[in-house]
Structures are given as C-alpha cells and as structure tokens.
Amino acid sequence: MNRALKRLSIAVLVMFLLLLINVNYLQGFQTAKLAGLPGNSRTFYSQFQYQRGDIETSDGVTIAKSVLSSAADYAKYAIKYQRTYPSGPEYAPVTGYNTIFGHTPTGETGIEYYEDAVLNGNDSSLTVRNFIDMITGKQRKGASVMVTINSKAQAAAYQALSSKLQGTGHVGAVVALDPSTGKILAMASYPSYDPNQLAVHSGSQLTANDNALLKNPANPLLNKAIGATFAPGSTFKIVTSSAFFDKNAGNNPQTMVSSPNQLVLPQTRNVLVNDGGETCGDGSGTTTLIQAFLQSCNTTFGKLGMSVLGANALNATAGAFGMNSSSLNIPMPVAQSNYVIPPSLATTAYSAIGQFSDTVTAMQEAMFSAAIANQGKLMKPYLIQQVIASDLSTVRATTPTLLNQAVSPSVATNVATMMNAVTQNQGGTAAQFNTAATGVDIAGKTGTAQNGVNNGNTNDAVFTSFAPFGNPKIAVGVIIQGGGYGAVAAAPIAVQVIKAYLGIR
C-alpha cells in the first residue's frame, strides 16, 4: 500500500506544480494580454482610481479637475474621483468630456479625448515619473494640460454669444488667435452643453443626459467653432483683394477699379447689386479699391473675380489662407473650409464675394485676419500650450510653427490698411467701431452672408478682425447664424473679445 501511496503523492505533487505554473503564467506573463482584452472593466475603471490631471487656461484658470467622489457616490459606483468642469458650457468646446463609458458616447471631442493618455497618466512619457511615485509612495496623478486659452477672452466670447443667441434657435461661434504664434486665445460655441452632465457616475443618468443633448436640433455637442461651416459672405473679399494685389505688384488700395451700380451676370438673367442698391464711391462707375472694400461693394469684387482674377487665382489664394484643407488639427480636427471652383463666370462673381459654394469655419475667419495681421505669415493654430506632470515638471510644450505664407508682406500691408479703413473711415461698414468708440484701433471686415434655399434664410452675420492695428495681438473671427448684418450682430462680439483680451474697459 505504501508504494501506491507514494506514487499517488507524486501525482498530487504534479497536480500542485501544474497549478503553480499556471498561476505564474497567468499573473506573471499574461497580465498585459488580460489587461488589453476588450471590455476589461478593471482596466477601464482603474483609470478612475487615480486622480486625472487638470486642464487649465494659460492664465491659470482650472477648467477641468478631478475631486474625490462624495462618500455616497463612491459607495454606489466605486469610482474614486469625480470629474468636474467648473465653468461648464463655456469651456465645453475646449475640454470635451470624460465619461464612465470613455470619452465618446457620441463622438470624439476635446482635450479630454485627445490628451487622454497624459491626463490619465498612462502615456509613455510619464512612465518614469509614475515609477518614482510608486517607489516614494506618492499618490499617482495624471499630468495636467495647459491650454492656450485666455480666460478673459473666452468669457467675453461665450457671454456675448449667449446673450446674442439665447432663445433664437440659431447657432454661433467665436475663435480668437494670437496672430504671431497661432495660440488659440478663445474658442466658443453656442449653444453649448454642460460637460458635468456627462461626467455623472450613473450609467443610466449619463445615457439620459446624452440622449437629451442628442435630440436637441441645435446639436449642442458639436463645437461650431471648428466643426460647422457657413458662407463667409463679404469677409471673403479679403481673399479677392489679396489675389488682386498679388496679381500685379503695382496694384494698391488706391488703384481705380470698376464699380458699377449693377453688374449684369453673363449668361443669366441675374443682376448683382450692392447691399440696399447703394452706389459705390461717388457713383461715377469707378472708384478706389479701398473705397469699394470699406463699403463692401459687391459689384466691384464680383467684377474683379469674374473678369480680372478668375476662379483659379481665387482658388489658389483661398488655399494659401488654409481653405480646401482638412489636415489642420489643433489637436481636434478642424472642418475643411471650401472654395469650390465655380462652373461659370456668373458663379465666379458670386464666389468672389463669399457666396456660391464658399464655406468657412469660425476658425478660418480668424485665420484670415491672423495671416494679414502677421505680415502674411499664417501660424498654425494650436490649443495645447504645455503638458505639466504632477511634479510640476514640463513634459512637453508646443512651439509655434508656420502653417503657410498666405500672402506676401506687402500684400498683407495693403489688405490691413483696407481692413483698418472699414472701422476708421466714416463710410466703412463697421465705422461705429472706430478708435474713439472702442478705445482700440481695430482692423476688420464685415460679412452678411445669404444662405438657405433661394437665399430664403435670414442672413448670417460674419466678422473677421484683428487689433491693435499697429501692433496686432489678437485676431478674432465671429459667425452668428441668422444674425443679419455682420456689423450689427457679429462685430460687437469681436470687439468685446478684443477689449477683454487687451484689458480695455
């Protein structure tokens, strides 16, 4: 019997060895594979066991942070930290949201998604720091992201948008850039949403909140500043003018151009007129380019586009300003602004005044002015200033890069002079925003874009601008859907953002 018992003991030994080898395999070698299994709830929930990094503005305002969940909430959902967005909808286009289902119940958005790896601390650039934290027993925390946003400009932009658009059912967007670097100083979208509603820990509550936002016809989850396009209207005359100056070195703001009261469009029964049928300049049929620009004469620029420049020249200049490109990421992708080559002379005339199939984002509107303000150098817009680890060391910082030399410096100077006249000349479309009225020397261009089937909708108000004229610090693009005249609905918002940023009361 003892021999059988000894053999059986060896069998038992083998059984235990197999178990030991198997747990070693599982917990020693398979951990990465198990952690990466689809739907591994521990991998997913473990990110909530660490404090996620903050998101803060360049002037130090925290716009997303993680705080300890309330005791009741923690007992119910076992999620240690609650993500909060102190400014709610104002910064939603910047922050995006971080939900318990990930970052994207309805689409990928915001810094929360694009800088997720550094915020949750899993990024490879943080591995060494995490290891040191583990050794020293310090609580691990994700890195913070500092965005280029200026809180004053952002607040002015969002407040101006909401007071203008509240209750209208229309949407609007503002983008402000630092012309010399490309820093995004403000990016506001209306209507917006409260990301706190999507940071709740109850799955059913989250789904309900999300569905309510999805049902809203104004699509508050969409960041209109970079995700929606509108007709640029007369602001496109910046492109047409640039193409005109570019065509001939002798062309300047004082160059005389044709300015008929009516422009008969070839092969159609349509006649292009100026707004309200007004005459351009002195009514002689010719006037200086700067006069046509500050008055925003459709006939002049329609004729320039149709007869002098042609669709290809307009297309090239539009592309130089960043249109017709879908490759811009800030890091969120910016929707493509389009100049579509028109099929006829008549439609070329329309396209030269920002109608036909021209579409732009609010970001593109800001880029027009930023390029002009920066002597034709279009800097690549960016949102992330730097990433700061929990030990306050800088993980990485963004260096400004040139996106494109949009126009030559001399062309930029000429266009800037004309844009300045729009506010400073008594006859300018935005003359009410002269230096005496605003306290700052602004250069800008208004746009009042017809849209809808047979132009049946209320006009969209557009305004692009930079300031101060002599030493540009900020470029602002504003689009107000259904706002009517650019000078009435859009320009005041830009002025408020400029004044807030420059500290002018």
Binding site: L8, F16, Q27, G28, L34, A35, R42
Partner: protein, 463 residues
C-alpha cells in the same frame, strides 16, 4: 518502577508536538490579524470596525481547537490545525472584504455568518476528536456510512428545483433560509465507507484476474464496486449538473482503489470510464459541452458577453493583481460574478497577487502532504486508506476548482475548501482536518510501554 509522571514526560518527548502547534497557530493568527487590518486600510484607510471583536472570536475558536487537540489527540501532526486555521481565517477576511466598500455585492453580514459556520466547524472538529477515539471504529459502519452517503448525494436530485437548485446545479437543500449542501458531507461518509469496503475486498481485487498486454485486468464480477461508483458519479453529473463533485467523487474512489490494490489497471479503467462518461454527457447535455467550449475559446466575443464572462472576469482580476496584488481592499473583485463562492481564489489573486495565491496553494499542498505522510506511517490498512483517500480528495478538489478558475482545465463549480462562502464546505473541511488529526495521532502515538522490564512474556496495557 517508573513513576506515572515520568512516563508522561517520556511520551511527550516521544512525539507530542502541541507546543509547536501553538507556535504555528500564533503565526496563523498573526497573519490573519494583519490581513484583516490591511483590508480595513485598503478599504477605508482605517482599522475595520469591530476588528478586535472578530479577532477575539477567531482566537477563541482556534484556542478551543488547540485545547481539544491537547486533550484528545496529543500526538497529532502539529501542522494540520494551524494550516486549516490560517485558511479559515483568510477566508473570513475575504468575506469581510467582499461585504464592504465600494461596489460590494454581498451583504456585510456574510462574514458574521461565516464566523458562525467556523464555530460549528471547530465544534465538529472537537466532536470528531472526542467521539472517534480510534479510527478503526468507523470501519464498523462501512455500509451504514455508504448508505448515508448515497442518500445525502441523491436527496437534492429528488427534491424540487425550488429547494435544491443553485446557479444551475441541483446540489443543496434550502429550508427556511438555511441551506445545506449534503454532498460535502457525503464525500466524507463515502470515503470512510470505501475504506472499510476496500480493506475487506482488497486482496481479491488485487490478486484475481488475468494479465493482458502487461496490465492486470480484474475479473468481471469484481468490477461491481467501480461500476457502482461510476453510476453515482454519473447520477451527480446528469441529475444534479454537478460536474466538479462528480469528478472529485470518481477520482476519490479510483485513487482509493489504487491505494488498496496497487494495481494500475484500476486507475486506467477508472480514468477511461470517467472520460467516456464525460464525453457522453458533453454530447447529450448542452451545459457540459458548453464548459469545454468556454475552456477552449473564452475570448470569442460571443462567449465573452455570455458564457465565459465569469471565467474571464476572474482571470482579468488575477491579471489585474499581477505579482504582488492590489492589496486587500484595493482591487475590484466584486466585478467577478459570484466571486465569494466558486471564484474566491481569483479574489485572492487580485488582491494578494501571485505571491499570495502561491502561498495559499502551498498551504493546501502542505495539508495534503501531512495527510499522505500520515497514510504512509499509520499501521492499520483502514486508516491508511482513509488518510490517503481524504488527502487525495482535498488535492483533487483544489486542483479542480483552482485549475478551473485559472483555465488549466474546464471550469466546474465546486467550493474552494476553507475559503468559499458557505457553511457545509467549511464544516466538512474541519471534519476532514479532525479525521486527519485523529489518524495522525494514531500513527504517531508511541507504542505502549511495557509494564514489566524482565521476562520473556510481556503484559501491555492498551490505551
């Protein structure tokens, strides 16, 4: 003439190891106390509420068991009780942990109930030591124990599902909020019954028969007992959907048959019969085939959301724990469904890591080793068979459940001895420790001293 006092001292010197047991018990209590404290810190950053009350009751139970060992089994192996106490204590800590903190799924009173069952278990251990003073007594009840075992196994199958079904298997008797899993006790009764039967029949089973291809085949009429055991095993499989216990039961019988006869053919026949039965069952009953499917393909998306969810959750938990674990109270074991019963091992893997579960496996291994050692050193064949059978059954049970939850073998739900939630398994485990202690006490008891030193004829007193 030596004085009685001197004889007592000599006896202790000859083999009483109760002081070693006491030292080892202190280690067990210390580990459990630290584990309990760590759980509190992991969950709430403070000592658990009522930690001293819990520990006091636990220490009291351990002390009672130790005193009973001193009184009734002074020569028993000194490691059996400390190892059992350590596992029981860790199980209590895990029950406390699973009933507390964020996301917990079981009632916080589970640990209290488990502590009550521990007390009943220790009580049964004491009763075994006090009542069964000589293991051979059990041999008298060979057929009684066999009948009791069969009735215990069959009862849940005959009862309506509302009383006997738990997560798909008909294995319990639930009456008025109180549930018993009779098979846990049936296994012990049948082990003793087999031992008694095989002691009588082992010669004929071992010697009669003919040799074919180098293997000694038994006579057809001697196949009766193994066929009966196979039948019971299939009954478990078919009527109670309890594959795990069926395998343990069959393994126990075949192993004991092998110990009794030393004939490899019995192992072979038993193994083939079980594989044949399992294969047949996997073809006939969906739930058996499904076990194989999720064992082979746990990560397919169809299995992941449905059948293999629990298995994969458990393994993900162990992976999450890694080498050193997340710390007691700091993992997410509550993500695994029914982690407190079949998957308790994965909860340990998650919170005390590879290092911890290897220690737990070694504790089981040590108990089995002490049992096997007892079987080899004890003289009488019945005790040999019983000790070998009980030890092998423990090893097999650990292999089936731990191998199952770690995907070494197909998963079959049985309890993890000492650790799983539930009274029947815990009480049965303590009875098993009691039996092993009694057997090792018998094995290690020094031979009776001669009462006269001279002369050819010696008169001895049997105690």
């Amino acid at each position: 003439m030596p004085t009685p006092a001197a004889s007592q001292d000599e006896r202790l010197a000859a083999g009483g190891r109760r002081r070693t047991e006491l030292t080892m018990l202190m280690f067990a209590v210390g580990i459990v106390a630290f584990a309990f404290a760590e759980t509190g810190y992991g969950l709430f950053n403070t000592l658990p509420a009522k930690i001293f009350e819990y520990l006091l009751v636990y220490i009291l139970l351990v002390a009672v068991a130790h005193l009973a060992m001193r009184r009734w089994a002074p020569f028993a192996d000194p490691l059996l009780l400390p190892l059992g106490a350590l596992l029981n204590g860790l199980g209590l800590v895990m029950m406390y942990r699973l009933g507390q903190g964020a996301g917990h799924k079981i009632a916080s009173s589970t640990v209290d109930i488990q502590l009550l069952y521990s007390a009943i278990g220790i009580g049964c251990l004491v009763a075994v030591l006090a009542l069964i003073r000589e293991p051979r007594v059990l041999q008298r009840y060979t057929y009684t124990l066999g009948a009791v075992g069969l009735v215990l196994i069959a009862t849940p199958a005959l009862l309506p599902a509302s009383i006997s079904e738990v997560s798909g298997a008909k294995i319990q008797i639930a009456l008025g909020g109180f549930t018993v899993q009779p098979e846990e006790f049936a296994k012990l009764a049948l082990a003793a019954s087999f031992a008694g039967y095989l002691v009588v029949k082992r010669d004929v089973l071992a010697l009669a028969g003919r040799r074919v291809l180098g293997i000694d085949l038994p006579r057809a009429r001697d196949l009766g007992p193994i066929l009966a055991a196979w039948g019971v095993s299939l009954l478990l499989l078919v009527f109670e959907s309890d594959i795990g216990t069926s395998a343990v039961f069959m393994g126990l019988f075949v192993a004991m048959l092998y110990i009794a006869t030393s004939r490899t053919s019995w192992l072979l026949i038993g193994f083939l019969m079980f594989v044949f039965g399992a294969f047949l069952a996997s073809k006939l009953f969906g739930h058996v085939g499904e076990r194989f499917d999720i064992w082979l393909h746990p990560y397919t998306s169809k299995n992941l959301v449905d059948h293999s969810f629990q298995l994969v959750q458990g393994m993900e938990g162990m992976g999450y724990g890694g080498l050193l674990g997340k710390g007691l109270g700091a993992g997410m074991p509550y993500k695994t469904p029914l982690v407190q019963s079949d998957f308790i091992f994965t909860a340990f893997g998650e919170e005390i890591g590879l290092a911890g579960v290897m220690a737990i496996l070694l504790i089981y291994g040590l108990i089995v080793q002490r049992g096997m050692r007892t079987a080899i050193s004890v003289k009488d064949p019945f005790s040999k068979l019983l000790a070998g059978g009980l030890s092998f059954m423990l090893a097999l049970q650990v292999f089936v459940i731990v191998g199952g939850v770690t995907r070494l073998i197909p998963l079959t739900g049985i309890t993890t001895p000492f650790l799983s939630q539930g009274g029947s398994s815990l009480v049965a485990s303590w009875i098993m420790i009691g039996l092993l202690a009694r057997l090792s006490d018998t094995a290690r008891r020094p031979p009776p001293r001669p009462i006269q030193d001279e002369g050819l004829t010696q008169v001895v007193t049997l105690k």
